[in-house]
């Protein structure tokens, strides 16, 4: 790799990684594109550099490191826990800024002590940034998907609605649209009358048989992805969900929760107060939230520079808990972004569930911040 264009603080960074007992790994620049598109969705397609091999395989220039590092971990099967670090170029189509730039980061795989591993990721990210930006005042924003999930569960909504809301977490526009639907349920229209009567009669077997017959007649069944039973059950669920109305009080609570934004140190008391006032049992999610904060404080992290924002999340289905971003005071540029992705490794093909947390550093933005 040509080292000449690497940021001048690369050596400091690598020393930091070594001091933090990580194993530096490299991954090829040219990667199979499927895992990225599968994990992040098609929206990524216009933001990465795609190409094709001679045999037609979809390839792309490495758009980030987490997925390649995790894939490498699964392939090498060297067991957990593992702390990997990386530093290298990534390639993305961006409206602003260069299309190729350096990223570095740590992926912490397999530590079962979730609170400790979360705290360590935050401490590593802020510690490294602190060393690279002496005198800069760092600010950290923290979110927690698990807390949102606990609130949604505690509200007693049907499972289907819980899934919808949890799936939309981190995408405020989508979430607002769902809340509107919960406030003003829309009856399902356009359903064939015979089908509607079958659903109402509760004769699921007949409904499934009917769907199956139609599939056979139309020659669709051979390659059907969704089975008659899946369609029948979701139809029933949909009709139930369409009638779900969240009463004004509960809706207000959910909206109030999403506006929470306060110093991290005050968050446990605020969340406990919120749960008490609303008579919600938030359980283990809050315990973990508190344990993480305690682990941060014990390790001497500057908790006063950290803010909890309840609505902060990433709308990707492999993020499961902590998310965080670090900026430097007076600028909105995100210098480090991280989070917990306990579902990613199994989605990528790992046989067992591997808890994982990590972060990446945007070296071009750090370079710009250092120049100020």
């Amino acid at each position: 790799m040509p080292l000449i264009d690497m940021p001048d603080f690369s050596t400091d960074l690598l020393n930091e990684f070594a001091a933090r007992r990580t194993e530096r790994v490299n991954t090829p620049v040219i990667q199979p594109a499927e895992p990225f598109l599968d994990m992040a969705g098609e929206d990524l397609r216009r933001r990465i550099f795609l190409t094709e091999s001679e045999t037609g395989a979809n390839l792309c220039l490495r758009p980030e490191f987490t997925i390649p590092v995790c894939l490498r971990h699964i392939e090498t099967a060297t067991g957990t826990p593992k702390r990997y670090s990386y530093l290298g170029e990534v390639f993305r189509q961006r409206r602003e800024g260069a299309h190729e730039f350096y990223q570095a980061g740590i992926e912490d795989l397999g530590d079962k002590d979730i609170a400790r591993a979360d705290a360590r990721a935050i401490i590593d990210a802020t510690g490294i940034l602190g060393a690279l930006l002496p005198g800069g005042k760092l600010e950290l924003t923290l979110g927690d998907q698990a807390v949102f999930e606990a609130v949604v569960r505690a509200l007693g909504l049907p499972l289907g609605w819980q899934k919808r809301l949890i799936h939309a977490f981190g995408d405020m526009v989508h979430l607002e649209a769902l809340l509107d639907r919960l406030a003003r349920p829309q009856p399902v229209t356009g359903l064939d009358q015979e089908v509607a009567e079958l659903v109402a009669s509760g004769d699921e077997a007949e409904l499934i048989a009917r769907i199956d017959r139609t599939m056979q007649e139309t020659g669709y069944s051979t390659n059907a992805s969704r089975s008659p039973a899946e369609i029948a059950r979701r139809l029933k669920e949909k009709l139930e969900l369409a009638e779900t109305r969240l009463d004004g009080g509960a809706l207000l609570l959910l909206r109030e929760f999403l506006t929470l934004r306060l110093p991290l140190a005050e968050a446990p008391a605020a969340l406990a107060g919120f749960a008490d006032a609303a008579d919600l049992k938030l359980g283990p999610a809050i315990a973990l939230f508190d344990a993480r904060l305690a682990a941060l404080a014990n390790a001497g992290a500057d908790v006063s520079a950290m803010t909890y924002r309840a609505a902060f999340g990433r709308p990707l289905d492999y993020y499961t808990g902590l998310v965080f971003e670090v900026t430097v005071s007076g600028s909105s540029a995100v210098l480090a972004g991280g989070g917990r992705f306990d579902r990613l490794l199994t989605l990528l093909g790992a046989k067992e569930r591997i808890p994982a947390v990590g972060f990446s550093l945007w070296l071009d933005r750090i370079e710009a911040a250092r120049a100020k």
Partner: protein, 232 residues
């Protein structure tokens, strides 16, 4: 005087309909060389060239700014470039070549009538079937914008389909499709239905101008636009 180029469709109904409108607009076209030539000129306006291309090539040439005007489908223009409205002006909708770009799912998906339904199905798809929901289409840009920006649906995969897209679900190549349809009869014949809020774009043939600074005070440009608009 610099040459102004107008790209017109080289074959089919859209070619005839375009010629008829230009005729009515008083912009008579005469072929350069023989009748089968792919080049022409407009009678009575100096230095305006006609070039005959396929509809998708016209969209591409407009995106590149290689031609000044083109007649082609709005779907092809919007699919072919990011920020179409900044790069080109849709000067006139010509009233033919009407077709909608739509999201269509198997008719037997009785539980899926809206994009919100599809969002629910897509969110669960991987857990149920071990892969993402697959969409067959040639409109991957329009599909992404519609699914991601307008409906917050991220988790699906596009399977590129260059023809006979309506057959993809029955053939097992994809679960649903995004395709262009004028009457919906091909969709119905393939047991597909359009989602109630699944119309991505109502397209038709348009006179499209590549936005160029040189057009600002070129009388030929305004004359062509006005003549075509007046002929509608």
């Amino acid at each position: 005087m610099s040459v102004l180029t107008i790209a017109l469709p080289s074959k089919g109904r859209i070619k005839e309909d375009t010629a008829a409108i230009f005729e009515r607009a008083g912009l008579g076209i005469s072929a350069v060389g023989n009748d089968r030539s792919y080049r022409g000129r407009i009678d009575g306006i100096e230095s305006v060239e006609i070039t005959y291309l396929s509809a998708s090539e016209i969209a591409r040439e407009l995106a590149n700014g290689a031609v000044d005007f083109g007649v082609t489908g709005e779907d092809l223009v919007r699919e072919g470039m990011v920020g179409a409205d900044q790069k080109v002006e849709f000067c006139a909708r010509l009233g033919f070549g009407q077709a909608d770009v739509v999201v269509a799912v198997p008719e037997i998906w009785l539980d899926v009538e809206t994009m919100a339904d599809l969002g629910d199905v897509a969110a669960d798809f991987r857990a149920r079937h071990g892969r993402r929901l697959q969409i067959a289409t040639k409109y991957w840009r329009l599909t992404q914008q519609f699914f991601s920006s307008q409906h917050g649906i991220q988790l699906y995969r596009i399977v590129e389909s260059l023809g006979a897209t309506e057959g993809a679900p029955a053939a097992g190549q994809a679960d649903i499709i995004v395709d262009i349809t004028s009457t919906g009869s091909t969709l119905r014949a393939n047991h597909l239905k359009i989602l109630s809020d699944g119309v991505i774009l109502k397209s038709e043939a348009c006179l499209v101008r590549a936005r160029k600074a040189a057009h600002d005070d070129d009388p030929r440009v305004s004359r062509i636009m006005e003549a075509v608009r007046a002929a509608l």
